[in-house]
């Protein structure tokens, strides 16, 4: 199995970057860890980025098309080739979810184009946050598939690398001199040991499995959503940091005669989300909108698509002003009858 020293990662990524953009978790000037291009700063290996690479495959704002002054419509999906490095397991599973979502019934050309041009290099987790629950969902901390390459931080200064696709294999072959070899048996033992140690680190104070089961069986008391609505400020931050949220709004504007229609991330917690032109609003009550969010992810997606719409990344709790999110939901769901 291939092994790469930490000091060789940047040269490797730079060589991959000769014909494509390379994005990795990098601290910005405000101290937020976000996916940025590798020339913007040192790569952070230790923490999960604030927003998953959803913002690269499905940007916060994206042009759908423009109408030129002569009436010609131009729609150009982004064909930029990218390497997305340092994706956590939960976020890689979120990409599996969005792959399904954006191709179901109708293919979304914009997502498809960005996705098929992206090489996914994941980083298995060895230090879950207190809000992580991928271990319950089977979406982490390590992946068996759904990556091009997966790195395992088996020692302080080096990563073992699993190959998940031909594209991943080529990405190694191009810089062969930067990699060392570890005998497979030894490598496998190191990975298993890391995995076992990691699994022991997950918080066990909330019974997510039970909450998920209750949600799938539609046995969540309406009082759960009433209580949650008392604690939630409806800021919508959870939907922005969620790696599986896909809802968008569509707007257009005109500049120097050129009309641009674009889409932007939207949020089902907002009252206007379901409001119709007639004034009719099927989810006027805030608690109903909260129910929508959790039922969509935990009840309807498992039923319709055999996937849970949550990957246990824990961001909706960490970045929540009142620290509720999926954790508080699970807590309420398993205690309020």
């Amino acid at each position: 199995m291939k092994l790469i020293r930490k000091q060789n990662i940047l040269p490797w990524l730079q060589s991959l970057g000769q014909d494509r953009e390379v994005w990795a978790p990098i601290l910005n000037g405000n101290g937020d860890l976000l996916f940025q291009q590798i020339h913007e700063g040192p790569i952070c290996y230790d923490l999960k980025p604030m927003i998953s690479c959803r913002r690269i495959l499905f940007p916060q704002e994206e042009k759908l098309f423009e109408v030129q002054t002569d009436g010609t419509i131009i729609a150009k999906p982004d064909t930029t080739k990218r390497v997305l490095f340092g994706i956590r397991s939960c976020d890689a599973k979120a990409i599996v979810f969005t792959d399904m979502f954006f191709s179901k019934n109708f293919q979304d050309a914009y997502y498809e184009s960005r996705r098929k041009n992206a090489l996914l290099i994941t980083l298995s987790c060895h230090d879950p946050m207190p809000t992580c629950w991928c271990n319950t969902l089977g979406t982490g901390p390590f992946l068996d598939k759904d990556f091009d390459l997966q790195l395992y931080p088996v020692q302080e200064d080096a990563f073992l690398i699993a190959i998940g696709s031909d594209a991943g294999k080529s990405a190694l072959e191009a810089s062969a001199s930067l990699f060392e070899e570890m005998p497979d048996l030894q490598a496998k033992a190191r990975i298993e040991a890391l995995k076992d140690a990691t699994l022991l680190k997950f918080a066990k104070n909330i019974d997510f499995a039970q909450a998920l089961e209750l949600a799938k069986e539609r046995k969540i008391s309406p009082k759960v959503y009433d209580k949650y609505s008392e604690e939630c400020l409806a800021c919508g931050g959870c939907a922005f940091v969620c790696p599986t949220c896909t809802c968008f709004d569509v707007r257009e504007f005109t500049e120097t005669g050129i009309i641009t229609r674009c889409r932007q991330w939207e949020n089902c917690f907002f009252e206007g989300f379901t409001k119709e032109a007639s004034g009719h609003n099927p989810r006027r009550r805030f608690a109903d909108r909260i129910a929508r969010r959790f039922e969509h992810k935990l009840t309807f997606e498992p039923k319709n698509n055999h996937m849970v719409g949550c990957t246990g990344c824990g961001r909706c709790t960490i970045y929540c002003i009142t620290k509720i999110g999926m954790h508080r939901f699970a807590e309420l769901a398993t205690t309020i009858k």
Partner: protein
């Protein structure tokens, strides 16, 4: 405006260009727009489906197709002036070009109604999507496939009835039982007065062989469903078209979700048992 687009042939978000070939003022609030694609292709819709109509520079909104698929070479949209896009559409003259995406969604299924009675119950502009099915099943080619056809149509007042000439035609046809009512009478009105549910009790219905198609404002469903239950109509023969903010039309934007469904993909036409258990549906 050109019909040709670059890299857009399979792109679900890019509209095709259609021209308004006639515009009729139906009421103070509604206009009937007849549209034809510049490249001449038929819309190819099922009754009950909808399109997304774009006025570039203003925006896009979902509108149900009101013409029957039996009418070829054009399609009709009856649009109420009620928001930014529809206000702007109402200001357009004949010959204007607009963008069209669709047809989208699950429409009515006229085939499953074959050999049965059909009871249409339309309130206000609920008649608009329903009309595509009415004019399909009463078309001379298809009328023999169906037994009794009854149309109940209610409006707030007589000035809000949408298609007076067509109503006259329906009234005169011997193979259609057409009944109307208004919520409030005005001087000179000699017809029924009362909400649409007042038209249901006098009907003689063959409960087990009648499909009921209901489209109207949200409040109407609740009361009509009670009246139909009184007539022992089986729930799986009650068909309705729901209205939601169907922004993208292709099941991606999320706004039109009704429980486990997306109105724009799984609907807008639903059978009552499909949505009965969903609190927010009706």
């Amino acid at each position: 405006m050109q019909a040709t687009t670059l890299e857009t042939s399979t792109n679900i978000y890019v509209p095709q260009i259609a021209e308004m070939i006639s515009i009729v003022q139906c009421t103070a609030m509604e206009k009937l727009f007849r549209l034809r694609f510049l490249d001449g292709h038929d819309l190819g819709h099922q009754p009950g489906q909808f399109v997304e109509i774009s006025l570039f520079g203003v925006g896009e909104c979902p509108i149900s197709v009101t013409s029957s698929p039996t009418e070829r070479g054009y399609f009709d949209l009856c649009i109420r002036k009620t928001g930014k896009v529809t206000d702007a559409l109402h200001k357009l003259p004949v010959g204007s070009k607009v963008g069209i995406r669709g047809p989208f969604g699950r429409g009515f299924n006229p085939d499953e109604m074959k050999g049965q009675d059909i009871l249409f119950i339309g309130g206000g502009i609920g008649l608009v999507p329903m009309r595509s099915l009415i004019n399909y099943v009463i078309h001379p080619t298809y009328r023999p496939n169906y037994r009794n056809i009854t149309i109940l149509y209610g409006a707030k007042n007589p000035s809000e009835f949408l298609f007076p000439e067509e109503m006259e035609e329906w009234r005169n046809r011997k193979d259609i039982d057409f009944r109307i009512t208004v919520d409030k009478a005005v001087p000179g009105w000699q017809g029924n007065v009362g909400v649409i549910t007042t038209l249901i009790p006098p009907l003689q219905l063959d409960a087990l062989h009648t499909f009921c198609v209901i489209v109207g404002p949200p409040i109407m469903y609740k009361f009509v469903l009670i009246s139909l239950a009184d007539k022992n109509i089986p729930e799986d023969k009650i068909i309705m078209s729901l209205e939601r903010q169907m922004k993208c039309g292709v099941g991606k934007c999320g706004h039109c979700a009704i429980g486990e469904y997306y109105c724009c993909i799984d609907g807008p036409v639903f059978k009552y048992p499909e949505v009965k258990h969903i609190k927010e549906a009706l």
